[in-house]
Symmetry: C2
Subunit: 251 residues, 2 copies
């Protein structure tokens, strides 16, 4: 079963791969899009893995990550940030992983260095699709994940740490939300990324003082509680804010 389609004039590089940590937010918890390796490995090890693939010889690393993302999510030109390279000599040599690699790779024994990326996706707006490297993919809450294939658990932790640092200095969290959101949803998003409770009143005061949201004349619909006001992120106002030298939210 050879999934990988060859591109004209380009060969797969057997030594370098990219893996993508695709974060989402289900309005309660931070989630990540995992692929299911299926039954071939279920007897031996974790079924779930991060989506990834070998790079082509004519691609740079960002292009390869974009290709993997595009194939799995149909999204392109979305926020993408490199987490780093992972190159333990034994990173793909567990028995269960070898078994799976034999079924998908031409050189399953080759040493592979992987370059990890993370991205943020508004998960409400689309469904993952089957791709050359995954028949099934699913959103899983990050805090429920205990193990993954290869060194992907380690990569996930590194990506989460990077997201945590980044959200303190740039408003990238808005990429995880629907276009219109409530202050409660934004508050819960920051709590779940920073992994700690944040005082609700302080949070609201801080965000409103920064003046980077546009309040809409519109409320939530079809919710079982009193509907809240909806907001949009205001990119223009954020740019004005950064021109004052602002580079930290102080969370």
């Amino acid at each position: 079963m050879q999934h990988i389609h060859k591109k004209i004039n380009s060969e797969l590089n057997p030594n370098v791969s990219v893996d993508c940590v695709i974060f989402g937010f289900d309005l309660e918890q931070l989630t990540v899009l995992l692929i299911d390796r299926g039954e071939i490995s279920s007897a031996f090890g974790p079924r779930m893995a991060l989506p990834g693939n070998l790079i082509y010889d004519n691609e740079n690393l960002d292009m390869a990550a974009n290709r993997v993302l595009d194939e799995l999510t149909g999204l392109n030109n979305i926020y993408l940030e490199q987490v780093g390279a992972f190159g333990d000599p034994d990173r793909i040599h567990k028995e269960s992983d070898r078994e799976w690699l034999k079924s998908i790779r031409a050189e399953p024994e080759a040493r592979v260095i992987t370059v990890a990326y993370f991205t943020l996706v508004p998960m409400q707006q689309y469904k993952p699709q089957a791709s050359s490297f995954a028949k099934n993919a699913d959103w899983v809450p990050v805090n429920e994940i205990k193990e993954l294939a290869f060194d992907h658990f380690e990569i996930l932790q590194a990506a989460k740490e990077k997201l945590k640092q980044k959200i303190k200095i740039q408003p990238i969290g808005f990429n995880l939300l629907p276009e219109k959101f409530t202050l409660s949803q934004l508050h819960r998003l920051y709590e779940s990324i920073l992994d700690k409770p944040l005082d609700k009143r302080n949070f609201r005061r801080k965000i409103q003082k920064l003046d980077i949201l546009s309040s809409l004349r519109e409320k939530q619909r079809g919710v079982p509680h009193k509907p809240s006001l909806l907001y949009e992120f205001n990119e223009e106002k954020y740019q004005e804010l950064t021109q004052t030298g602002f580079d930290n939210f102080g969370f």
Copy 2:
């Protein structure tokens, strides 16, 4: 001329290298340790490059970076942080770079992905030494560098940006200073890393309020101006500070 010594039972991996951005501080400016590729390339392109080498098949990436550092500086177990992977398909294919690679590598045409690291070295305390990949190495002020071999200029900029972000949240700058330093030297260090002037009185007040320095009963000697008080970084007090949730210097 084949510089690279083989380790027993391990082969060089022709597809993956590490490159090290070794930062220093000459008490006035941020500097970086560059190797001189010599005359072979001088007719075609930049002579200077970041120190780096292919990885061995039994090494992980951190080990390879440590080996390169150890060989060139004699220092080991020093602060080391990954900047990221650089993998443009054409990153080593400029004419001047090919020429040089032919003289040092078994497979000069192979595509090489490099993983960049940065480290901080108290440059007063030692001299760079000749190594398997460099006959000469020298400290150069970062702001005077206009070009480097391969994609090393791009890597240097990325490393500097990472250092800038990092010094805002962790007191890693002390690794660049002699053990005993003046507040003026610390102030100048932050200015040269952050690339902007910082008000001297505000800076001193901020640092002293954090209470992470020990003031020594000792002054500078042999300086042509009024000698200043010397300080040491107090790791213990910094650890106490972080336990209060502190994670930003606010520079």
